[in-house]
C-alpha cells in the first residue's frame, strides 16, 4: 500500500478516493494569516489539499506569538505570510505552498483578476467593505468564497457563491429505499415465491422481513380497495396482523417487520424537497447548464414517465434476518431494478445533452450511477450576494431572531460584528481596541448598532447592553481557541465544498463562545 493511502486512511473512510482526489486538485487562497486563517489552512494542509497561497502584508509581532502557533519567536519582524507558509509546508510536503506579502484589502482593490486562478478563497478577518468587494470579484470569476472571522469570544463563518449542488449529500438518517409501499412487479413476484404459513420453523424464521411486509401489504390492499393502512387504527391493526403471523416468540424477522411496518405506511412518490429541485427553473437546460442540472432534467422526465412518480431505485438493502441465499437473491432483485432505472436515466441524459448541443458522452457513467443512487438526497445550496444581505437582510427573519430568546445573543453578535466595522470606518480603531477609551467606545458602539438596526428596518429593536459591553471588552482581539474553532469550521466547509460531499452551511454561522449557544442565521 502506498504511503499517502495509509496516511489519509482515517479521512478516506469519510470522503473516499474521489473526495481526496478533488482536494488534491484544488487551489486555495488564504487572505490574512492570523490564527483564524492559519488554523483553517493547517487543517487543510494536513488533509492533503492541492496547493495554497497565503496572502498577508503584515510582519510577525510579539502579540502574534501569543495567539498563532504557526509563527515563533525566531520569526519576529519577518513577513507573516512567509513564516506561516513555511510552517504549513513542514506539515505536508505533498502540498504546494506559496505566499504573497501583500495586504488583502489592497489586493482586492488593485488586482481583482488575481483571484480567478483559485478554486476557493478563504477570506479571514476582513472588514465589511472589503467583504463586499471581494464577493463581487469571486462571484464574477466563479470562485468559491468563504469568510471567517474571530472577534473576542465571537465569530462567524459565511459561504458565498451563486450555487452549490450536491449529489453525495450523505445524510446520516435517511429512510432506506425498499419500495414496500409501492413494490414493482419483480419484487412482488419474488415475494410470491414465499409461503408465510410454511411449516418448517427454520424456514419461517428466515423469511426476510421485506417479503413479509410486501405480502402482508398486498393482502391488506386486496381487502381494502387497493389502499394501504393510513389511519392510526389501521396501522395498529396491520401490526397486530404481523404479530399474529409469528409462530415462535424468537422470530427476529417478524420483529424486524413490525419495527419496519412504517415503511409500508409511508407516502409514495418523491419528497417535497426533491419536488422543489425538479420545479427549479434551472431544469430548463441549455448549453450552459451544469451536468447536475442536465441530470435533474433527466430525473424529472423519469419521475413523470418510467418512474411512475418515483425516483430511480437506490438498489441497496439493509441487513436483515434471512438465509444467505434468500438475502443475496433479494439484493439481486433490488440491484436489477436500480440498474434498469439507471439505464433509463442515462438514456434521457444523453438525449438531453444531444438536444442542447453538447457531447452526449460528456457525463461519465459513474457520475450518472452515483446520481441515480443518490437521487432522493440531492441538495442545492444558494447564497445571496453579501452586499444584498448587508443592505436588505430578510427582515422577517431578522425580527424573529431579535425577539427570540435562543437567538438573541447570536443575532446580537451578527449586528455588532457589522457595527464594529462601521465604528472602525468612522473612528479609525475598533471599539475597545485601546484601554483608554472604553466608556466612550461602549456608548459609540451602542449608537452605531442602533442606527444600523434602524437602517435595516428594525426601528424599535435594541441589543442587550451586556453584549455591547462585551464586544468592546473583546477589543478586536483574536483569541487562539476561538480562532482554532472558527478556523476549524471554515476548513470543514472548504472540504465539503471541494469534495462536493455532505451539505455546506447555508446562511451565516454565528459562533457564540460565551455560552456556546451558537446559531445559523438565514438573512
Amino acid at each position: 500500500m502506498a504511503e499517502p493511502k495509509v496516511k489519509y486512511d482515517r479521512q478516506l473512510r469519510i470522503w473516499g478516493d474521489q473526495g481526496q482526489a478533488a482536494l488534491e486538485k484544488s487551489n486555495i487562497c488564504l487572505l490574512n494569516c492570523g490564527p483564524t486563517g492559519s488554523e483553517t489552512l493547517k487543517n487543510l494542509v494536513l488533509g492533503g489539499i492541492g496547493s495554497i497561497t497565503v496572502v498577508d502584508g503584515s510582519k510577525v509581532e510579539v502579540g502574534d506569538l501569543g495567539n498563532n502557533f504557526l509563527v515563533d519567536e525566531a520569526s519576529l519582524g519577518e513577513p507573516k505570510a512567509k513564516i506561516v507558509c513555511s510552517f504549513l509546508q513542514e506539515l505536508n510536503d505533498a502540498v504546494k505552498a506559496k505566499y504573497i506579502e501583500e495586504y488583502p484589502d489592497k489586493l482586492i482593490e488593485t488586482n481583482p483578476s488575481f483571484f480567478s486562478q483559485f478554486t476557493l478563497v478563504v477570506a479571514t478577518q476582513l472588514v465589511e467593505s472589503s467583504m463586499v468587494k471581494l464577493d463581487k470579484i469571486c462571484r464574477e470569476a466563479n470562485v468559491i468564497l468563504i469568510f471567517a472571522r474571530s472577534y473576542g469570544l465571537a465569530g462567524f463563518v459565511r459561504i458565498s457563491l451563486k450555487e452549490h449542488t450536491v449529489i453525495e449529500s450523505k445524510p446520516e438518517h435517511f429512510l432506506d429505499d425498499l419500495r414496500l409501499n409501492n413494490p414493482w412487479p419483480e419484487l412482488k413476484r419474488f415475494a410470491e415465491g414465499f409461503e408465510l404459513n410454511v411449516h418448517d420453523p427454520v424456514a419461517h424464521k428466515h423469511i426476510p422481513y421485506v417479503v413479509i411486509l410486501v405480502k402482508m401489504a398486498d393482502e391488506w390492499a386486496k381487502s381494502h380497495g387497493g389502499r394501504l393502512p393510513s389511519t392510526r387504527e389501521e396501522k395498529k391493526e396491520f401490526k397486530e396482523l404481523l404479530k399474529a403471523g409469528m409462530v415462535a416468540p424468537d422470530e427476529d424477522n417478524y420483529k424486524e417487520a413490525m419495527e419496519s411496518s412504517f415503511k409500508v405506511f409511508a407516502p409514495r412518490g418523491i419528497s417535497s424537497e426533491l419536488q422543489l429541485i425538479l420545479n427549479d427553473s434551472s431544469v430548463e437546460v441549455d448549453s450552459s447548464s451544469s451536468d447536475f442540472w442536465v441530470l435533474v432534467a433527466a430525473l424529472k422526465d423519469f419521475v413523470a414517465n418510467e418512474g411512475g412518480g418515483e425516483a430511480p431505485l437506490e438498489g441497496s438493502i439493509p441487513d436483515m434476518t434471512s438465509s444467505t441465499e434468500q438475502y443475496v437473491n433479494l439484493q439481486n432483485i433490488y440491484q436489477a431494478k436500480a440498474e434498469a432505472d439507471f439505464l433509463a436515466i442515462e438514456r434521457m441524459a444523453r438525449n438531453t445533452l444531444k438536444k442542447i448541443g453538447g457531447d452526449p458522452n460528456s457525463i461519465p457513467r459513474a457520475t450518472i450511477k452515483s446520481f441515480c443512487k443518490n437521487a432522493r438526497k440531492l441538495k442545492v445550496c444558494r447564497y445571496r450576494p453579501i452586499e444584498d444581505e448587508f443592505n436588505s437582510p430578510n427582515l422577517s427573519e431578522l425580527q424573529k431572531y431579535l425577539t427570540d430568546e435562543d437567538h438573541s445573543f447570536a443575532v446580537g453578535i451578527y449586528i455588532l460584528l457589522r457595527a464594529v466595522d462601521r465604528f472602525a470606518a468612522n473612528y479609525n480603531r475598533f471599539p475597545g481596541q485601546f484601554d483608554s477609551a472604553m466608556d466612550e467606545d461602549i456608548a459609540r458602539l451602542k449608537s452605531t448598532s442602533i442606527s444600523l438596526l434602524n437602517e435595516l428596518g428594525c426601528n424599535s429593536a435594541t441589543l442587550a447592553d451586556d453584549l455591547i459591553n462585551e464586544m468592546c471588552r473583546f477589543g478586536a482581539s483574536e483569541l487562539h481557541a476561538v480562532a482554532a474553532l472558527v478556523g476549524g469550521i471554515a476548513s470543514q466547509e472548504v472540504i465539503k465544498l471541494i469534495t462536493r460531499q455532505f451539505v455546506p452551511i447555508t446562511g451565516t454561522y454565528i459562533f457564540n463562545g460565551i455560552d456556546h449557544k451558537s446559531q445559523l442565521l438565514l438573512l
Binding site: 500500500m1 504511503e3 495509509v6 496516511k7 489519509y8 482515517r10 479521512q11 478516506l12 473512510r13 469519510i14 493547517k42 487543517n43 494536513l46 488533509g47 509581532e61 510579539v62 502579540g63 506569538l65 501569543g66 495567539n67 498563532n68 502557533f69 515563533d72 513542514e90 473576542g152 469570544l153 449529500s169 445524510p171 446520516e172 441487513d319 434471512s322 444467505t324 443475496v328 473612528y427 479609525n428 480603531r429 485601546f434 483608554s436 453584549l467 459591553n469 462585551e470 471588552r473 473583546f474 483569541l479 487562539h480 481557541a481 476561538v482 482554532a484 474553532l485 476549524g488 469550521i489 476548513s491 470543514q492 472540504i495 455532505f502 451539505v503 463562545g513 455560552d515 456556546h516 445559523l520
Partner: protein, 454 residues
C-alpha cells in the same frame, strides 16, 4: 476623526496582547468570581496546572490551544506511539516521528514553538499512575477515544470529591474535567464539575454499547461483508491458530483475515469485502479528520480557560456538534444522578471496629453493589494494601491482618477508596469505588449518618 491620541498611546508589546483583553478587563457576562487584572493572568500562568489525557487528535490540539490560552504548566499522558495513520490530523507529528511515544513528541513540539510553556510528558497507561498524581492538577482535559479510559479518569477525579455533613460537595475537593470526543464530522464537548454537574458515569447512557453480530449469523447465515470479516476474525482464526491470539496491529494477521473473508464472501456471493473495510471492521476504526478535532478541542480549551479564570460564562454542560449536514450545535443541560456510585457521596458501609483489612476486602467481594475483587485499598492517599507492583504488595501485605479501624487512624468514619476488578456485561473491568466507612459503636457516629447512596 477623534482619538488619534489613543492610537499613539500604544500598549507595550506583549505576547498576551489578545488574551489580556479578556483577562484584564471587567465584564458583565462572566463567572461570579471573575477578578480581572494582571494578577489573574499571572496566576493563570504560574499556578494553574492542567493535565491533558491523550496526545492524539484531540490531545495535540488541546496542548497547542491551552499553551496559547495562557496556561504554562501542562502535563500530557498517553501510552501510544505515533502511527502513519495519525498524520492526517495529529499536526505535532511528522513522518520521521512514527514509532516514537506520542506524549513525548507532542510535548517537545509545543515547547519548541511556545517559549515559557512547560509540558511534562508521561508515556504510560493512565492506570499506571498513582491516584494522587491526578490530584496535582487544577483541571483535567480529556482527549480520548475510549469509553473505558474516560470512565477511569472520571472515577479518579470524582474520588477526590468530599461531601460535608449536609451532603454538599466541598468546593476545594472538586476536580473539574473538560471532555471532548469526535467521530467523523460529529463531536461533543462537555464540562464536568464533580458534585455539581453530571459526571461521566451519571450520563453513561450517552455512550451506547457497540452492537455485535450474533455468532450464529456469522457461522450460518452471513449476509454482509462485515459478517464474512467477523467470521474470519472471530471464528476461523481460532480454529486455525489454536492458542495464538489475533494481533490487529500485525499486518500479516490482518491479511490472513482479509483473505479468509474474501473466500467466504465468494462462497456465499456477498460483495464488498476490501482490505480497508476489513481493517475498519476488525479494529473498529473510527473515521477522524483534522477539522472536527480542531473544533472540539478548541471548545474544550476555551472552557478550561473559563474554569480557571471565570472570564466568561461556562458551558452548561454538554455541547453536541454535527457538521455533516450544514452545521448543528446544541447545548444540553444534563442533570446529575444523585445516586451515582462515582460522583455521589459514596456507598456507606457499616463495619465492626474489630474487622481486619483482609476481612474488609472479603466483604467487598460479597457486597451486592460492589462485587469487587482483587482490591487495593487507600485511605487519605495512604496505601493500606496494594495488589501491585510487587514491591508495594510486599510492603503492604502485613496490613492485611491488622484492624482497619486502627489503620484508618481510629476515625469513627471516613472515606476509603478501593481499586479492583468488577464484572460489567460479563467482562472484567477495573474500577475504583468510593466507600463511606462507618464504624459501629464508636463515639461521634449516630443513626443520623444516613446520607448518601447506601
Amino acid at each position: 476623526m477623534a482619538d488619534t491620541s489613543a492610537q499613539i498611546q500604544q500598549q507595550q508589546p506583549s505576547r498576551s496582547r489578545d488574551l489580556d483583553k479578556l483577562l484584564l478587563r471587567p465584564g458583565n457576562l462572566v463567572g461570579p468570581r471573575f477578578e480581572p487584572g494582571a494578577e489573574l493572568r499571572d496566576d493563570l500562568q504560574e499556578f494553574a496546572k492542567v493535565l491533558v489525557v491523550g496526545a492524539g487528535g484531540l490531545g495535540c490540539e488541546l496542548l497547542k490551544d491551552l499553551a496559547l490560552s495562557g496556561f504554562r504548566n501542562l502535563d500530557v499522558i498517553d501510552m501510544d506511539r505515533i502511527e502513519v495513520t495519525n498524520l492526517n490530523r495529529q499536526f505535532l507529528f511528522r513522518l520521521e516521528d512514527v514509532g516514537k511515544p506520542k506524549a513525548e513528541v507532542a510535548a517537545k513540539r509545543v515547547m519548541e514553538r511556545i517559549s515559557g510553556v512547560n509540558i511534562v510528558p508521561h508515556f504510560c497507561r493512565i492506570e499506571d499512575k498513582e491516584i494522587e498524581f491526578y490530584n496535582d492538577f487544577s483541571i483535567i482535559a480529556l482527549g480520548l477515544d475510549s469509553i473505558e479510559a474516560r470512565s477511569y479518569i472520571n472515577t479518579v477525579a470524582c474520588s477526590f470529591l468530599e461531601y460535608d455533613s449536609d451532603d454538599n460537595p466541598r468546593e476545594e475537593t472538586i476536580k473539574p474535567m473538560v471532555d471532548g470526543g469526535t467521530e467523523g464530522f460529529k463531536g461533543h464537548a462537555r464540562v464536568i464539575m464533580p458534585g455539581i454537574t453530571p459526571c461521566f458515569e451519571c450520563t453513561i447512557w450517552l455512550f451506547p454499547p457497540q452492537v455485535k453480530f450474533p455468532l450464529c449469523t456469522l457461522a450460518e447465515t452471513p449476509r454482509t461483508a462485515a459478517h464474512c470479516i467477523e467470521y474470519a476474525h472471530l471464528i476461523k482464526w481460532d480454529e486455525v491458530h489454536r492458542g495464538v491470539p489475533f494481533d490487529p496491529d500485525n499486518p500479516e494477521n490482518m491479511k490472513w483475515v482479509y483473505d479468509e473473508a474474501v473466500k467466504r464472501a465468494e462462497l456465499f456471493g456477498i460483495p464488498g469485502v476490501t482490505y480497508s473495510f476489513t481493517q475498519g471492521v476488525v479494529k473498529n476504526i473510527i473515521p477522524a479528520i483534522a477539522s472536527t478535532n480542531a473544533i472540539i478541542s478548541a471548545a474544550c480549551a476555551l472552557e478550561t480557560l473559563k474554569i480557571a479564570t471565570e472570564c466568561s460564562k461556562t458551558l452548561s454542560n454538554y455541547l453536541t456538534y454535527n457538521g455533516s449536514e450544514g452545521l448543528h450545535t446544541k447545548v444540553t443541560e444534563f442533570e446529575r444522578d444523585k445516586d451515582c456510585l462515582v460522583c455521589g457521596p459514596g456507598i456507606r458501609i457499616e463495619l465492626d471496629p474489630s474487622i481486619t483489612l483482609q476481612k474488609f476486602m472479603d466483604l467487598l467481594e460479597e457486597h451486592p453493589k460492589l462485587r469487587l475483587s482483587k482490591a487495593s485499598v487507600t485511605h487519605r492517599g495512604k496505601n493500606l494494601y496494594m495488589q501491585a507492583p510487587p514491591v508495594l504488595e510486599e510492603m503492604t501485605r502485613s496490613n492485611l491482618t491488622l484492624s482497619l479501624f486502627n489503620l484508618m487512624g481510629k476515625l469513627p468514619k471516613d472515606i476509603v477508596h478501593v481499586n479492583g476488578m468488577t464484572s460489567k456485561n460479563d467482562q472484567k473491568t477495573s474500577c475504583l469505588r468510593k466507600l463511606r466507612v462507618v464504624f459501629k459503636g464508636i463515639d461521634g457516629v449516630t443513626d443520623m449518618d444516613t446520607a448518601g447512596g447506601a
